[in-house]
Amino acid sequence: MTTTEPRPSIRTELLESRPVNLDGFVEEWPEKGLVAMESDFDPAPSIRVEDGRVVELDGRARADFDFMDTFIANHAIDVASAEASMAIPSAQIARMLIDPGVSRGEVLAVTRGLTPAKVLDVVKLMNVVEIMQGMQKMRARRTPANQGHSTSARDNPIQVAADAAEGALRGFAELETTLGVLRYAPLVAIALQVGAQVGRSGVLTQCALEEATELELGMRGITAYAETISIYGTESVFVDGDDTPWSKAFLASAYASRGIKMRFTSGTGSEVQMGNAEGKSMLYLEIRCILMAKGAGVQGLQNGSISCIGVPGAVPGGIRAVAAENLVASMVDLECASGNDQSFSHSSMRRTARLMPQLLPGTDFVCSGYSAVPNADNMFAGSNFDTEDYDDWNTIQRDLQVDGGLRHVREPEILQARNTAARALQALFAHLDLPAISDEEVEAATYADSSNDYPLRDVLADLKGAQSVMERGITGLDLVRGLETTGFHDVAQSLLNVLRQRVSGDLLQTSAVLTPDFTPLSAINDVNDYAGPGTGYRLAGERWEELKKLRHVTSATNPETEVG
């Protein structure tokens, strides 16, 4: 060294400029719960049952239970099998999870009697590959699926309809929207519903709002399901959220009483983010949420840290914990909509690596959801993947021969779907006497990428229209009638078929989705029967042929041309 002044090497400068170094990383602080899943402050597993009642749970006597302990003890744990299940060594349960010779049902017979600390003890033994093996078998629905977001930075309903149509065509089984200006909700929710049915009949839609309005849109049949019903792992944070396990359980039944599919939402990191983790690890608290959801009798859960992903993402082993929380939801027999739904990293490598534990084994919904609009238009504050990543996603599915729920669609089909969605919405708005959609807007929707590519709407007129939807009591049935009488028969019929499902209740069962021919597909009639190599869901046949297609594939017959 002859230089007089220390300076960074050229390589260090290069590394410093890599996107991953824009991400935030912090040290663990287990005393405060800033730790993923390995903490000395988490309780040791224990259970005691007397007279058919749990009287001790993870080292705590019933008199000292907080309300999470109480709810889990009263509703989630199967008292008949609990003591026997708890006596099984954790290592043996972990082995059952990955052993193809042990069926999903045999695992469930054990997990239904486990306490939160015991579940943690089991998954702590598993590395990410074992977690994926477990997920492959424990996922409730045999066929994996995906969910998309269709939102607009300007809350433009035409954009939401066109992007929902394209997203549905590309393969999302569920589509979710939310708003910048909440009062826009009725128009945007209608647009989402119409666009989704144009793209692929039977796609289910939801609009994330505060509880009361979300339920009302559902009751009216303007949306088909709900998922933004948040729960938390400590009593104090749960109360800060102005709810209890009992209020949320009541709400779960309220949705079912109207025939509406619903799942709860939780995730690692939310409690420490809100400053009240009570010194417990993120995963331990999330397992409490999962068992609370189980006890409430909801069919499923959206988890995988969700909006707090920056917290587990910043601590050692955090993404392993996130993979583990998805597995725990599946191993207690809940539908799992597995995150990958919020901006996570500046690094594309890290974004992709974070996805692997869900994409490779498959989950009920790999993303919850994938941004089917450019991230700048994503009103959930950005997703881990957006429209720019469509071709990468399709290529990864083809490379690894895994089904992430999407497919490549040729341009003419996409343009047609977008155009039809915009025209159907145009006709429906006119029929319902809502603010007009111009031909110029329909044209823009056909070819647009982002909200910047559309003419500006008269926002005040739209908001008045949105209010009138609520005041006039417009329901899903009015949408069906409007679409039918304006000549959009297929869209009308699809929407009617989706609405009819609430009369049958079939979509209330675990992991239910609707196929394009309106067959409900759930964990009852599409049981995950994975039993080792060559069994379970395999990407093969027609679906595999579909996923072999990409934007540019050189023809083997005539290498001077491309197929696709």
Binding site: G24, F25, V26, L34, G275, G310, V311, A314
Partner: protein, 199 residues
């Protein structure tokens, strides 16, 4: 980043001058800061020095011809409680509440605690010009005017970069809470680091 004297050379300490009382001047804005502000912590989540934060907020208030009074809260690190508590002590009923990491709120004494006039929840996006505008807007509310809200920014990549650090800072600020200790009025003492020459 330049060689010239910068904001980072300046320092501030908050000298206690007595219990925080109710103000009588209708033309004052209270600036209420959290337990660790300009004490245990010296800068926001994105390294804006607290001295700069205070200078800008105070300048924004003063440029509207309104006076500012600073109080420090000890018994809570909840921004709404800090800002609303400050508003109740303010002669005009208007206060700016601030957490160490930079999260800021303009509050008014007659509003419910969980409401506010303006909230700036994304601490990583708050820089000196924004703090000045916040001060200016607070002063305008104090004069009974209805200023345009300070434009809020949004950055989708703030989560991966700052969410965990924000949680950590939140936990640390909580540790500085002194339960039951009443708020005090403080006086900012501005200085410069070491022997660097004054600009």
């Amino acid at each position: 980043m330049t060689a010239a004297t910068t904001a980072s050379d300046r320092t501030v300490t908050l000298r206690e001058v007595g219990p925080a009382g109710r103000g009588t001047r209708p033309d004052e804005v209270v600036v209420a800061v959290s337990p660790a502000f300009a004490g245990h912590f010296t800068k926001t989540i994105v390294d804006v020095p607290h001295v700069e934060v205070l200078r800008q907020v105070l300048a924004g208030i003063e440029e509207q011809g309104v006076t500012a009074r600073i109080i420090r809260v000890f018994d809570t690190a909840d921004l709404a409680a800090i800002a609303h508590g400050g508003a109740k002590l303010s002669g005009s009923g208007i206060a700016v509440g601030m957490l160490s990491r930079g999260t800021t709120m303009i509050h008014q004494k007659d509003l419910p605690r969980l409401s506010n006039l303006e909230l700036f929840p994304q601490s990583p996006l708050l820089d000196a010009p924004v703090f000045r505008m916040i001060g200016s807007n607070a002063a305008q509310y104090a004069k009974g005017e209805s200023p345009q809200p300070v434009p809020t920014r949004n950055d989708q990549m703030a989560r991966p970069r700052w969410q965990a650090k924000a949680a950590l800072l939140h936990l640390k600020e909580f540790e500085c809470i002194q339960a039951g200790r009443p708020a005090v009025e403080v006086e900012p003492v501005f200085g410069r680091v070491g022997s660097r020459p004054l600009a």
